[in-house]
């Protein structure tokens, strides 16, 4: 038979042993354990004799009075009406909706204002391209006329007659092109066209058929070679201008 150890006896004394009934049986059967348990009970019973100092009925009131002045009052929770939250939400919603609508309207207005300018720019760029094409064509024809004039054979009426007709046609066009050159802001072109104008006028207004002397005079006096060179230079510049105009119309930079 195993004896109960002190820890088991203490547990049994406080009613916390594993098996109370079995321990009781063992204590009845085992004199040594019963004696040990009796001694334990006697010792622990001694400890219970401690007396508490008397406290009268007013003790609680005394405690309260001693601490009441040290206690801060809790802040009452803020009241909130159920409708207030709803109204707040509605107001916030309305403000947000107004902001969105305002931004939409402002965007539309801005787009409307921007559109004519863009259209105007596009139209202006298209017009400039047309002018450049017309000018190019005019310079081509002028170049051909000057080349023909340079190599003209005064004896051939078949060659001279069309030159005069072409000069008349170019003379009319030259005035328009002169204005166009001024419009696109090309002073070199305008000057060249100014130089071309007397030659064209002379050619167009020659009475009768062009003879050898007239052609030679025109070639010399009107500096036809110089004009031809000038027209060729201008023609070579025109493709660059056309390319620049196309780039502008596509939104690029020159």
């Amino acid at each position: 038979m195993n004896h109960l150890n002190e820890e088991e006896l203490v547990g049994h004394y406080y009613g916390e042993g594993g098996n109370h009934a079995a321990t009781e049986e063992h204590l009845e059967a085992c004199a040594a354990c019963a004696e040990a348990y009796s001694a334990l009970r006697q010792d622990l019973a001694q400890v219970k004799r401690v007396e508490l100092p008397a406290r009268d009925g007013s003790y609680g009131e005394q405690v309260w009075q001693s601490i009441v002045h040290s206690l801060p009052a809790y802040a009452a929770p803020k009241r909130s009406w159920p409708g207030v939250g709803l109204w707040k939400g509605l107001v916030y919603g309305a403000v947000c909706a107004l902001l969105v609508a305002g931004a939409f309207v402002a965007g539309r207005q801005w787009e409307h204002r921007k559109q004519p300018t863009t259209a105007g720019n596009t139209s202006s760029q298209t017009q400039q391209r047309v002018i450049l094409v017309v000018l190019g064509d005019h310079l081509d024809r002028s170049e051909r006329l000057l080349v023909e004039l340079k190599h003209a054979d005064a004896g051939s009426a078949e060659m001279v007659s069309p030159m005069r007709d072409e000069a008349r046609s170019l003379l009319a066009a030259n005035r328009v092109c002169r204005q166009d050159a001024a419009q696109i802001g090309d002073p070199a072109l305008a000057t060249a066209l100014d130089h071309l104008n007397p030659l064209l006028a002379e050619l167009a207004n020659q009475p009768g058929a062009l003879n050898s002397a007239t052609i030679t005079r025109l070639q010399e006096e009107m500096n036809a070679d110089g004009l031809l060179f000038e027209v060729r230079v201008l023609r070579s510049r025109l493709p660059d201008r056309q390319a620049g105009s196309a780039a502008r119309s596509n939104g690029g930079t020159i």
């Binding site: 002190e6 820890e7 203490v10 547990g11 406080y14 916390e16 001694a39 334990l40 006697q42 010792d43 622990l44 001694q46 400890v47 219970k48 004799r49 401690v50 007396e51 508490l52 100092p53 406290r55 003790y59 609680g60 009131e61 405690v63 309260w64 001693s66 601490i67 009441v68 040290s70 206690l71 801060p72 009052a73 809790y74 802040a75 009452a76 929770p77």
Partner: protein, 193 residues
């Protein structure tokens, strides 16, 4: 003092709503039980009164943390146990130099014999209590508190563990160690009685 007829939970709601005076009802209701356990743990009347006041102050400050499903009496009781334990822990440093945590029991036996004029003198309750008090002071704060809660307050190991913030088995062990030490200390008394 108002709100006396209301239960503790209703009183706490009133306090948290700004009615400070309502706390007085809880103080009146639980002061005696707190003093009892505080005195048993500290072994000193003045300390016990301080512990009661401190416990109620701590309780008031932490009232928002009190869970409504708990029992206020149990909650404030645990706070008081903590306060008392803190107090005797603070004293323990001084006591250890004065009394000694692990003094020789034989020495105590001699002291008792020396102090006693005879067996009749030992029967005087005052002297027995003084000896028991000395024996109690030889325990560690945790052992003393666990023993008081188990032996004098009839608390279970689970309740002791909850009050001290330890595991139930540790609480049981603390009680057992306290009993062992007390029996050794009180052995001279048993012989002479």
């Amino acid at each position: 003092m108002h709100c006396m007829g209301q239960n503790d939970h209703a009183t706490i709601q009133a306090i948290l709503s700004g009615d400070k005076e309502a706390y007085g009802a809880l103080v009146l209701r639980h002061s005696h039980s707190l003093f009892r356990v505080a005195y048993r743990i500290t072994g000193n009347e003045a300390d016990a009164e301080d512990v009661v006041q401190e416990a109620f102050l701590r309780g008031y400050r932490n009232l928002r943390g009190f869970e409504s499903r708990s029992n206020f009496g149990t909650w404030i009781y645990r706070i008081a146990v903590h306060c008392a334990l803190d107090r005797i822990k603070g004293y323990k440093v001084d006591d250890s130099s004065r009394v000694g945590g692990e003094t020789d029991p034989e020495q105590d036996q001699v002291q008792v014999a020396d102090q006693a004029a005879g067996p009749e003198r030992l029967l005087l309750s005052g002297e027995i209590e003084a000896m028991q008090q000395t024996a109690m002071q030889s325990l560690t704060p945790t052992e003393r508190t666990a023993f008081v809660l188990r032996h004098m307050e009839d608390r279970t190991s689970e309740e002791i563990a909850a009050a001290l913030g330890i595991r139930p088995n540790a609480a049981k062990q603390a009680v057992f160690r306290a009993v062992q030490k007390l029996r050794i200390r009180l052995a001279p008394l048993r012989v002479k009685i």
